[in-house]
Symmetry: C2
Amino acid sequence: MKQLEDRIKKDGIVLPGNVLKVGHFLNQNIDIDLLSAIADEIASLYSDSHPTKVFTVEASGIAVATAVGLKMGIPVVFAKKHTSSNVQGDILSAPTHSYTHGTDYDMTINRDFLDPAERILIVDDFLAVGGALKSLISLVEQSGAQLVGCAIMIEKAFQGGGDELRAKGIRVESLAQVETMSEDSLTFRK
Amino acid sequence: MKQLEDRIKKDGIVLPGNVLKVGHFLNQNIDIDLLSAIADEIASLYSDSHPTKVFTVEASGIAVATAVGLKMGIPVVFAKKHTSSNVQGDILSAPTHSYTHGTDYDMTINRDFLDPAERILIVDDFLAVGGALKSLISLVEQSGAQLVGCAIMIEKAFQGGGDELRAKGIRVESLAQVETMSEDSLTFRK
């Protein structure tokens, strides 16, 4: 998606340790016109797959997932990163490692929120090694619902998580695929 | 907002300790038509105030804030509940106590994300004692931006946080104001 790639080139900040900061325009302090265009693009890519629900994980995936849900007119649910005292009932869980934060957590979702009859579109802001995305996919598999595919705003393609999932036959659409990045330059996969 | 009150009466679950569970239709597993109607209502209430930015706090405020931002065509930003390793620069902070989870945390926002020239509309899912809302207001005050008001999906009015802020002259609009609740009955303030 050229609009997103151009904006990342213009405003993204590359830091040591393969960190690409976009919080100031994309996933925390949100340019609403850009988010709206991203949601339109994801809705267009997946309209033929007829998803019935958008699934993401807190916190920075919620904004793009909500925008996609509004565009497609389908409900949205997010997984949590720990067991909250407010969560009750039958919980699905997937152990997850965050390479960004260097932490381990359990990604959890109430089983009632992923019905086996649903067709699930997973939406998230970032894909790198794929830790969070693999946990989201695991939760869908545990639920018995059907996964129609994944839509990601920014994939750091050189970290391999996306291609690993594609090799398994999972549809992964990333609107911007960073192929190389350094403090001076950033290139995208075509 | 009658549609929201009716839905809370129908599907809300009251638990001991003044807990009202709505995660299964409102703030985690999200009925997108209800969320869209809520965002329309908030946009309508505040259109004359000409806010330039929506401000909320992770995680369950992000969905409604994003929906309001899309409806009003203004950017959205959310505060974080701890200092993340990805946050850098000049940080505003407000110590906060969560009565729901019995925890203390620092609510933080990058100073660059709340410009003194902005007119801020705070949006959140719940208001009870008002701990989180007071911290959001504190962050706006620290930034020098102007607060146009607060929009809340559900206020537990009997816990007093909303009225305390209104007495200080802050505009607080809650779409459903729970006046009394027990496992058998739930009444709303008119």
